[in-house]
Symmetry: C2
Subunit: 337 residues, 2 copies
Amino acid sequence: MKRTIYTIAADLGLSPGTISKVLNQTGNVSSDTRERVLKYIKEVGYVPVTSARMLKSKRSYTIGVVFSEELHIGLEHSFFSSILQHFKNYVEKEGYELSFIVSRLGKNKMSYYEWCMNKKVDGVYIVVGDYDDQGIYELASMNIPVVSTDIIIPGIHSIISDNVLGINISLDYLFNEQQVKSVGMITGPQSSKAFVERFQAYKSYFRTHHKDINDAFIVEAESFGFTSGYNAVYKLLEQTKTLPEALLVGSDDIALGVLKALQEQKIRIPEDIQIIGFDDIAFARHFTPSLTTIRQDREAIAHKAARSLLTLINHKSEKVEALTLMPVTLVKRDTTK
Amino acid sequence: MKRTIYTIAADLGLSPGTISKVLNQTGNVSSDTRERVLKYIKEVGYVPVTSARMLKSKRSYTIGVVFSEELHIGLEHSFFSSILQHFKNYVEKEGYELSFIVSRLGKNKMSYYEWCMNKKVDGVYIVVGDYDDQGIYELASMNIPVVSTDIIIPGIHSIISDNVLGINISLDYLFNEQQVKSVGMITGPQSSKAFVERFQAYKSYFRTHHKDINDAFIVEAESFGFTSGYNAVYKLLEQTKTLPEALLVGSDDIALGVLKALQEQKIRIPEDIQIIGFDDIAFARHFTPSLTTIRQDREAIAHKAARSLLTLINHKSEKVEALTLMPVTLVKRDTTK
DNA sequence: CTGTTAGCGCATTCAC
DNA sequence: GTGAATGCGCTAACAG
């Protein structure tokens, strides 16, 4: 049977308005009737129709998700999927659903902002964004709660791992504990902010510690994946005859490709060269040799993002710090001594 | 500026009903005014508010997605995420959005069916389902279009890879081309239909070809992941002193764990033992040695599922074949000779 | 504390 | 081929 607040109001001898009130925990209802309504609702399994509620209240209990596909990073990308999954779990507990923001739907195109208006999303979560994507800036300038975990945009609260800390930990470990003399770096494409930060941190560490940077020990991978790491090694080999004693790699995905190429060249890890990655993806542990890496706490990032966004949604006025740096840790495995 | 069909009707000196008609391609409108409306709409970037449309029309242009979390298979699982991504791309082109079906949202619980009613989804796509999940059977029995790509439920159109074919191809290759004498199997947990099918196919191949099955060569992995494959090898080693010449593994995730354990035991691949996996996940190619495996065409599966579901949605009466078997292929790499 | 009422923005009869 | 009226199910403001 089809139920509306009218039918259940009739069944209980109440008025629809009262039912609405207990549903929304607004207005005054005697705890007596509230109990009665709640009990009956549970009994018959009534759930309010979302669209009607949205139409009236301007709220949708839905969070729009930007998961950029420009970069060809789809849901397959385990790092971001994992963050999204944790985020989803968290907000669902608070009664929010997720909806992917798309700019083309069938025939009509619309901006992110238009989409948000039409779906009446309560907030937006940018999981993976593209700096060239104008839609994001437009979003940031409108009065709608937004958080991001990948890119930093003025006006948007971002939660990102402390890249500088990660690089510093790695370098300290290599230079001080391992007494390594030289450390090169294979960075990811500098179109991505995270890779830029990590590379900058690497350079400024050398500067601060009065060490010389050997440009021959530095390679920028052409892309994000395994293959680009693999190729980067051959580029490195062209640049220098003698390898550095250790190598920092911009991401685990790339690092695993690096390992493969190194093994192919019969270069022993960690004896001849030590490797430290970044991210701690699932496979980092499984690869042979298992990868020493900087671990990003995906769950902590996702939950922090969720909490911040919900705060913004519920107290629009309240300022949430514009940038939250999440701590990272060094996970020592077999690619370092 | 806020636009509704009323404002644009006023702007054009028409009535809201007319606007609605051209938007929905229903009723009679002179091609002249239709053009005019369409042009103006594009110009000002108007898009109808979803919730209002849903409320009245009973359609949402939304597809509910069941992505079971009971099995702890989240979005991180690359195989299913990949299928979902392809599915998403396809249906978005046709103007549909995705929405995850959840059974608990904040405080209130609801069945899949209730959720579908409230969101007024046009159809449901079961990416990963659990046979113990009663909600799925309820869905199947209701009059709502459903397709699945993981499990087979009476009344639901399923698109799945031809597991039997995959196993037969593998075994033919091993026995005939490689002239192998014995083939063992490490299967996945038999709670999953796909693993059951693959294991059954293995057994019936032996039966049909009058070969004896050596039970000592068979191990059921305890779970879906890398680690369970790793452990399975040690279980196998306990069961038999002499290994089979080849091993079929229920999935690539498990197979990679198998490789790791084998390498650890200094068992040479493919010299001492050949391995064939199933799925062809991204890492199968990257692992050392790269994994020979049965490739499932994820994109083809997703697109077929999308097409079938859209057909069901648009022609509810039309019967779509209840089960579609998708072809698989053997990808030869370094774990076979 | 509870009931009544007026829209929210659109789709769908009907008349015209 | 076009336009006015009605209602989808709910919320919010107000009246009782």
